[in-house]
Assembly symmetry: C2
Homo-oligomer: 227 residues x 2
């Protein structure tokens, strides 16, 4: 069984992920060419904040102070966001769907290594989030896929070259996400142990990466972009 420390680390990493996703989505929403698009991305931000509150609540139940528990993960997540700051609305949309979808897949994998009550919480938080079919149409929820598709289509039909740039951009998101995840794992023994033990060793880690990559490619296909 994972140690309580590993569970707190996992929930704290997820919580800071949600708090910084809130922050970045709220910021990126401003680039929307329309008020409607701005409201939609703002809805996603508010939604992520709701997730943050649930995770922070669980951390408190476990006797941890959320701000203190999140501190070790601030640098890696802030670096990820600094290196993937969208410079156009299209980049913001792709990041909201592809980047956050990939993070959600990662957390869903890790959730299978932990106790049932933590797993249920993580699944509930992610269920209505990026890239899932459930709750399609809920503002900020699974409707994100349709939102991303509509915005990407609009951008690409206005400028076909945008598709290639968006595909390159998505590759950068993947690269930076992997790089920052490695930093976190190298730094937090408890999480590294959780991963290796949970996947059943290094070959297990490799197949987990394969599964996450496949789901990423599905999302890129759904957007009509090369992966």
């Amino acid at each position: 069984m994972p140690t309580p420390d590993a569970i707190i680390d996992l929930l704290a990493a997820l919580a800071y992920g949600e708090l910084s996703a809130f922050d970045r989505l709220a910021d990126d929403a401003r680039m929307s060419p329309t008020l409607a698009g701005r409201a939609e991305m703002s809805a996603m931000a508010a939604f992520e904040f709701g997730h943050y509150e649930r995770l922070a609540g669980r951390l408190r139940e476990l006797g941890a102070d959320p701000a203190e528990a999140m501190e070790p993960f601030v640098a890696a997540l802030d670096t990820y966001h600094a290196l993937t700051e969208p410079s156009t609305w299209l980049e913001g949309v792709v990041k909201a769907y592809v980047g956050d979808g990939m993070a959600a897949d990662f957390y869903r994998e890790v959730a299978s290594f932990v106790d049932e009550s933590t797993r249920t919480l993580i699944h509930e938080v992610l269920a209505d989030s990026a890239g899932t079919a459930a709750n399609a149409g809920v503002a900020g929820g699974g409707g994100r896929a349709e939102f991303a598709l509509r915005e990407v289509r609009a951008a690409v039909s206005a400028n076909p070259a945008a598709a290639d740039r968006a595909a390159l951009w998505a590759r950068r998101l993947v690269g930076e996400a992997i790089s920052q995840t490695q930093h976190v794992l190298a730094d937090r023994d408890s999480l590294m142990m959780l991963m290796v033990a949970g996947t059943g060793g290094l070959s297990g880690v490799a197949s987990m990466i394969t599964r996450i990559t496949e789901r990423h490619e599905e999302r890129m296909r759904a957007l009509g972009l090369a992966s």
Copy 2:
């Protein structure tokens, strides 16, 4: 009775107020010296977004497109926020409490001029918002007063000169809010008519301003700042 146009204008002005409050609070949250303070101001932002969604929902029920209905109010509210962009965490805190509290008082006054169902919606949206005792302690809700008081006290005890600067800053918030409200009313006949008819003429407008000013002074006293 106010015309349907006036009701749509009123709800749309309030809706864009909430959308831009969301946006500004999310932005100002970043200035927090602590992760806990950042999470608290982010909670306020997410809370305002919930209000936006309720108002946008009502606009749709009335057959209006929220984005289109909000358009006439974008310039005035964006100008208010551009002219009152906080440059310190303390300024952000004072704006979140004093500025948004004043806006809430204004909308509460105007709500008394409209039909019961619109009034109920406005009261519900505002009840759990800035500066009310109800829901104190709810993240993002009425707990804002305690949050503002705690942050102002911390800033002033670290630097007593901050109290005078915060008092000046609050006066600027009041001045810009009045100025932008006048622009909106000069521009939207329907809202001007609603105000003048609702208050019973110009002397009514004057007593409404007196009431809003008194509540503003109460908030400043609560923060221990000169008004």
